[in-house]
């Protein structure tokens, strides 16, 4: 399955003009508020009619303004999860979940039992939306969208209205969904941590244009994307395997370049995890530091350096074949004589990796 989107739409004082092809998996539309990403997802779902454009999902033309094709929302089968969940207040959770099944095409479908189990909403079935917490509501909304047998799942900042604890509660469910259902997902977000955990492809949207598009690991480790992603949020994603849970509360994760110790993660031994390491948490040394409290020291090679306009520089490293970013000052970069090909050590404090930056890898 692939999604082809080409849109042009003129708002008062704002023009959207994007074109991209999303492969299967989770495609994240990332950008600041007002960059136009919600407009794109609304156009895909048919809630907004763009001035001009083409949208094809799964080989089916949903919109083609040149050919005069514009399927109404109820015939597009785009399962939409809204930021504000939009559950029907007069129906029970079970009735909400089954709402879309009346209209779903006949044929093999995901069963209610499987989704209820996958999202952990069994105890809620006979309740009404009014008595649910924000996190529960959002899980029901996700289940409702999946059970309508969509060809594509569209999530518009589904976690934006939730506090951090609720976000942490839902993210693992979204990871399960991504890995178990093989349903293409279009995910709108302006939270880098979510994108790093969930996305397989990232589309970076800036001021109504596609600034860059590519696989998540490549996009997040490309210094050129740093301004669009936000300097404080920049960080590459490493793929790791859980090797040991130590008695002192640390977990050993192995990446290609060696072991990493992080605060205890709940995943079982052998689980594959994505770890996002923020560029600003990584220190560089030209010799292996000794007598230092930081637990993680990985040998690395400088791939390239991007000097910022301010005092900062972004260094892309090769750590055992994977990319890692380090944000240092230009002064340090010059003092250490950093240049492409230079062997260095990347230093990372164990406690600097927040729980939200560790998630299941496919």
């Amino acid at each position: 399955m692939s999604l082809h989107v080409r849109l042009r739409h003129q708002f008062a004082g704002f023009a959207l003009e994007v074109a991209f092809d999303a492969p299967s998996g989770v495609t994240a539309l990332f950008g600041r508020s007002g960059s136009g990403k919600s407009t794109i997802i609304n156009a895909v779902a048919g809630l907004l009619r763009p001035d001009q454009g083409q949208i094809r999902a799964d080989g089916v033309t949903l919109l083609d303004t040149d050919a005069g094709v514009n399927l109404p929302p109820h015939r597009r089968r785009v399962g939409y999860v809204f930021q504000d969940s939009r559950l029907f207040p007069h129906l029970t959770v079970r009735q909400n979940l089954l709402y879309g099944q009346w209209f779903a095409p006949k044929g093999p479908q995901v069963s209610l039992a499987r989704i209820v189990d996958m999202l952990g909403i069994g105890p809620l079935l006979s309740r009404r939306p009014g008595s649910l917490s924000g996190g529960e509501r959002q899980r029901v909304a996700i289940g409702r969208a999946i059970l309508s047998s969509p060809r594509l799942l569209a999530l518009d900042e589904p976690l934006a209205a939730l506090d951090d604890a609720r976000k942490a509660e839902i993210l693992p469910y979204l990871e399960r969904l991504r890995d178990d259902l093989h349903l293409p997902i279009l995910y709108v977000s302006h939270a880098m941590a979510e994108v790093a955990r969930l996305a397989s492809t990232v589309v970076l949207i800036e001021a109504g244009k596609v600034a860059a598009i590519g696989p998540v690991a490549q996009m997040l480790s490309d210094p050129a994307n740093a301004p669009g992603l936000g300097l404080r949020e920049v960080g590459a994603v490493l793929t790791t395997v859980v090797m040991a849970h130590d008695a002192d509360g640390l977990t050993r994760l192995d990446c290609a370049a060696g072991p990493l110790w992080l605060p205890r993660v709940t995943s079982p031994l052998g689980a594959s995890l994505r770890v996002r390491i923020l560029a600003q948490d990584v220190m560089l040394a030209t010799t292996r530091p000794e007598g230092i409290s930081a637990l993680n020291i990985l040998p690395a090679t400088v791939r390239d350096i991007r000097m910022g306009e301010g005092p900062g520089a972004l260094v892309r490293l090769d750590v055992g074949g994977e990319a890692m970013l380090a944000r240092v000052t230009r002064r340090s970069a010059e003092a250490l004589g950093l240049a492409p090909g230079r062997a260095v050590f990347a230093v990372l404090k164990a406690v600097s990796v927040a729980q939200e930056n560790v998630g299941a890898a496919r």
Partner: protein
């Protein structure tokens, strides 16, 4: 039970109930449609429709009755064809009284339902659409259940208004005992006869009781429906 009202009085009460019941029931679907159009659609002539619906509220009832007679009377612009083609005669029949009552009560009904529709978040209807529900289904399964308290309130308000309709009714269908003499017409007729005050007073009590019952009933039904759909 029956002896405290004379047969004539009973007939007036029964006729009023029948007229109001049918006036409410038949105008309800149209009331919902018009309320929905006014609340949600933009179309040419929307203000005109709005004005037309509310006109009976502000026109002297006798004028509305006169217009009904001109339109639906036996020789009226519409009435003559109803008679010729379908054999339907409204003037000076109880059905005419129902039409007059429906027209007079329509603005109240539309107003209540329109307020209820405006209170429904269109985002919910949008969500139903993305789940595959065609527009009519969305209306039946999302909008209608959510506006039910407003619909009930509007219907009962219309019923109460229909029970009390006098001016347009007497102008359009006159005051024929057993045929078009509704409760208010009967009270009016008794007051025209010397010594009829006692009969009138009894009917006044009946009118008050019916009106109060209707109001309390609508409050109770609307509240229990609202509790059920607000979802706790």
């Amino acid at each position: 039970m029956t002896d405290w009202l004379s047969p004539d009085e009973w007939r007036a009460v029964a006729l009023s109930l029948r007229v109001s019941f049918w006036a409410t029931l038949v105008s309800l679907p149209l009331g919902i449609l018009v309320a929905y159009a006014l609340a949600r659609w933009t179309f040419w002539g929307k203000q005109l429709l709005n004005g037309l619906v509310h006109l009976p509220l502000i026109l002297p009832p006798v004028v509305t009755g006169y217009l009904l007679l001109m339109t639906f009377g036996r020789k009226g612009t519409v009435g003559q064809y109803l008679d010729q083609w379908f054999g339907i005669v409204l003037a000076f029949r109880w059905t005419g009284a129902a039409l007059a009552a429906a027209v007079m009560a329509f603005p109240l009904m539309v107003r209540a339902i329109r307020l209820a529709i405006e209170a429904v978040d269109p985002k919910l209807e949008q969500a139903a659409g993305t789940l595959g529900a065609p527009p009519l289904w969305v209306f039946a399964t999302v909008t209608l259940p959510l506006i039910l308290p407003g619909v009930i309130a509007g219907a009962i308000l219309a019923f109460a208004k229909a029970m009390g309709e006098f001016g347009a009714t007497i102008t359009f269908v006159s005051n024929i005992p057993g045929q078009t003499q509704t409760l208010p017409s009967a009270i009016y007729a008794f007051l025209q006869v010397p010594g009829g005050e006692a009969q009138a007073a009894r009917l006044v009590w009946v009118a008050i009781i019916i009106a109060m019952t209707a109001l309390l009933l609508s409050e109770w039904v609307a509240r229990s429906v609202a509790r059920r759909i607000s979802g706790a």
